[in-house]
């Protein structure tokens, strides 16, 4: 190992070079956070803030944040923000958007927040076609309270209160919230991304930009679900997080644009698209 050539990485290169992107979004006040090593949530939040920065014609923006590990970003995202109670962000976003229709209004919630506590809130906002974008960080556990089962936990997934794995007879079945929302007429753009690899992260950003554009065009309710790693909640080493996410959660919560221009994408189409994308390499 010590024979390997290791390059200096403590300063920008001396040779002429172009920095390809900022390390963190301009709208993030601090790179410090106390989220676990290997957490996928910062990847999603970075894409959200970059998507916001890159949305053309943005007059105003209001972020309504739920309660979970990601709540730490309420104070570090440099956007007018409203802290909501667990599950309640969609109703707050509704009130905010009605009073400030020229602002782009989004929620940032976890699966425990949105699909457990706040299921009726997000379904009603979607059905009403509320002109807001709800963003879900889905890791299949209640991260902040220690890794318990949520309504999106998949069968066989080990959590603090399903240690033998989620059992349909005892624990019931997961709710595939993106798919559920796609079937509501008020929802026009519904997508599910995953941050398990660089391609997935980049794809998630495209989905967020499309969702925001959809809101800007006044097309109704938009929704982006982002599957994120939670190695702590899954009891696995951080390095195994992405693989677990893709294999265990990603095989049930299928990624892709679940609804576009009012049309629900059939699952076979989603799978076919994913297989095609799997063959592409990131970068180059």
């Amino acid at each position: 190992m010590s024979a390997e050539t290791i390059l200096r990485t403590d300063a920008p290169p001396a040779e002429p070079a172009r920095r390809i992107a900022p390390t963190s979004p301009a709208l993030l006040l601090s790179e410090e956070h106390s989220l676990c090593p290997g957490c996928g949530e910062p990847l999603a939040v970075r894409m959200l803030l970059e998507a916001l920065e890159e949305t053309p014609g943005l007059k105003g923006a209001i972020g309504v944040v739920g309660i979970g590990c990601y709540t730490t970003f309420t104070r570090t995202m440099d956007v007018d923000a409203i802290q909501a109670l667990h599950g309640r962000a969609p109703s707050l976003a509704t009130g905010a958007k009605r009073m400030r229709p020229e602002s782009l209004v989004f929620t940032l919630q976890g699966d425990g927040d949105m699909v457990n506590e706040g299921l009726q809130e997000v379904l009603h906002a979607a059905a009403r076609g509320e002109s807001v974008t709800c963003v879900l960080l889905n890791n299949g556990v209640f991260g902040e309270t220690g890794g318990h089962m949520t309504a999106t936990t998949v069968l066989g997934q080990r959590t603090k209160n399903s240690l033998e794995g989620r059992d349909p007879g005892y624990h019931g079945y997961p709710i595939l919230i993106g798919d559920l929302i796609a079937r509501l007429e008020g929802a026009t753009y519904v997508a599910r991304g995953s941050v398990h690899d660089a391609k997935g992260v980049a794809r998630t950003k495209r989905m967020l930009k499309r969702a925001f554009a959809s809101q800007q065009q006044g097309l109704g309710f938009s929704f982006v679900e982002v599957l994120t790693m939670c190695p702590t909640g899954w009891f696995i080493p951080t390095a195994e997080g992405p693989g677990y996410l893709d294999r265990v959660l990603g095989s049930v919560h299928i990624t892709g644009e679940l609804k576009r221009d009012g049309r629900v994408t059939p699952t076979e189409e989603l799978r076919a698209e994913n297989e095609k994308l799997a063959g592409e390499r990131f970068g180059e």
């Binding site: 390997e4 070079a17 290997g38 957490c39 951080t238």
Partner: protein
């Protein structure tokens, strides 16, 4: 001795790293490895070998904003031992 071409490079904010290892498999040319040494918080951190393409995959998958990624105007050649 062999020559490796790097089309890009990175800076690594060692003290901000939490040793999650996600950048290692994410790097398409596989030029990152985790250090032996520990940073002040006790985590191993990534180190860079020649061959970076400046693609930015590490930047995208790092939860702790450790990387800044650069693309050289002219690719840089490095002599490495075998």
């Amino acid at each position: 001795m062999a020559t490796v071409t790097s089309r890009g490079t990175v800076t690594i904010h060692v003290e901000q790293c939490k040793g999650c290892d996600l950048c290692i498999p994410a790097c398409p040319p596989g030029v990152l490895r985790m250090s032996e040494a520990l940073n002040a918080r006790g985590y191993r951190y990534p180190e860079l070998r020649p061959g970076c393409t400046g693609c930015g995959a590490c930047l995208l998958v790092c939860p702790d904003f450790v990387f800044a990624v650069y693309q050289y105007e002219t690719p840089v050649r490095t002599e490495v031992s075998a």
